[in-house]
Amino acid sequence: MNHLLNLVTAFSIVLMAIVLISLRRSHIRVEYSVSWLGAAATLLLLARWRAALDWLTRALGLSDPATGLIMIVFCVFLGVFYRFSVIISDLKDANIAMAQRVAILEYRIEALNEKQQTLEHS
């Protein structure tokens, strides 16, 4: 069990470090780093605070804290993935609407330019 807790601790710290480095290099925006940092902090807390992990394991109706920890890890990352699915869907909708708008505006500008050129030649 201790080995698993140490692994989760190391994993959380590495995850936090990766997210912070990515933030510093502007590879990830602050608003999208919060979910990852929150998930990493939750895992770190549970891995180092045994009483909280035991309480959560009992609350989930499980007897083994290791199973509880794995289940919590799974739920936390499921939540993060869901949040990003919502964000990606919103971004895709916005991206399509913007691409359509750009295409329509470009089309209308080109038509106006052609019209202006015709007027200038006549």
């Binding site: 399509i96 691409a99 359509q100 750009v102 295409a103 329509i104 089309y107």
Partner: protein, 245 residues
């Protein structure tokens, strides 16, 4: 075409993605059938000569800045048509499967029956020639699913040969399914209490290019469309319920 359209004006839209083998023939055929009707090819960022050939054949081209997929492409055409004030829009596919000779029948039905959308159907008076076996199975499945939702049988729910009038154009300019749009669009219209009709038409084999729905994608297509249909049903039912409380 960029000026505001006259009342009763018709626009033909042709979504196309890498259709250089067929697009020129399709545009020329449409223009020969409906002299004077503007033809707009919506080029979904093709990597071949689709855009050039469409222009060469006499169409206006609305080029997408990047690949949007069929629904996004068609919706861009609907948006432009709505902004320019067109009253009727008929969509013809860029692969040559839709026979433009049937456009007048679609337009006439739109004008005389009062319905908001007309579907060119290969099954109303024909046996669905040039329909592959997997597609035919899919059509039967969607027909069965849609019947209780729409309250009537739609013989050819996957047909992209459709005409819409301004009422439906307004709805589609705001909200249109982005992937595999034909079937979901029917549910969107039905939920708005709009009506549709089918007219018999002939479908031909593709003149070139490849269908976006490969054998492998067929299963994904069915799941995606079924999910889209049910989401649309739930979405509008939910709104109606909230309004009534």
């Amino acid at each position: 075409m960029t000026r505001a359209a006259q009342p009763g004006a018709l626009l033909i839209i042709i979504p196309a993605y890498n259709e250089e083998a067929a697009i020129r023939g399709v545009v020329e055929e449409v223009r020969a059938t409906l002299a004077g009707a503007p033809v707009l090819v919506i080029d979904d960022c093709s990597s071949d000569g689709t855009k050039v050939l469409a222009k060469y054949a006499g169409a206006e081209v609305l080029p997408m800045p990047h690949h949007l997929g069929l629904g996004g492409c068609v919706q861009a055409g609907y948006k432009l048509a709505f902004e320019l004030g067109y009253d009727y829009v008929v969509r013809v596919d860029g692969d040559g499967q839709h026979d433009p000779a049937f456009i007048p029948a679609i337009l006439e039905t739109l004008k005389t029956t009062g319905c908001d959308m007309v579907i060119g159907s290969r099954f109303v008076a024909r046996d669905g020639e040039h329909t592959s076996a997997p597609r035919a199975i899919g059509i039967h499945l969607f027909r069965a699913v849609l019947r209780p939702i729409l309250g009537k049988t739609v013989h050819d729910p996957t047909s992209g040969f459709v005409g819409v009038k301004r009422t439906a154009l307004e709805v589609f300019a705001r909200s249109f399914p982005l992937e595999y749009p034909e079937i979901e669009a029917l549910v969107v219209l039905q939920r708005k209490r709009f009506t549709f009709q089918e007219v018999p038409c002939r479908m031909r084999p593709r003149r070139g290019g490849r269908s976006s729905i490969t054998a492998l994608k067929s299963f994904y297509y069915i799941v995606h469309v079924l999910l889209g249909v049910f989401v649309n049903v739930l979405r509008f039912e939910g709104r109606r319920r909230r309004k009534s409380t």
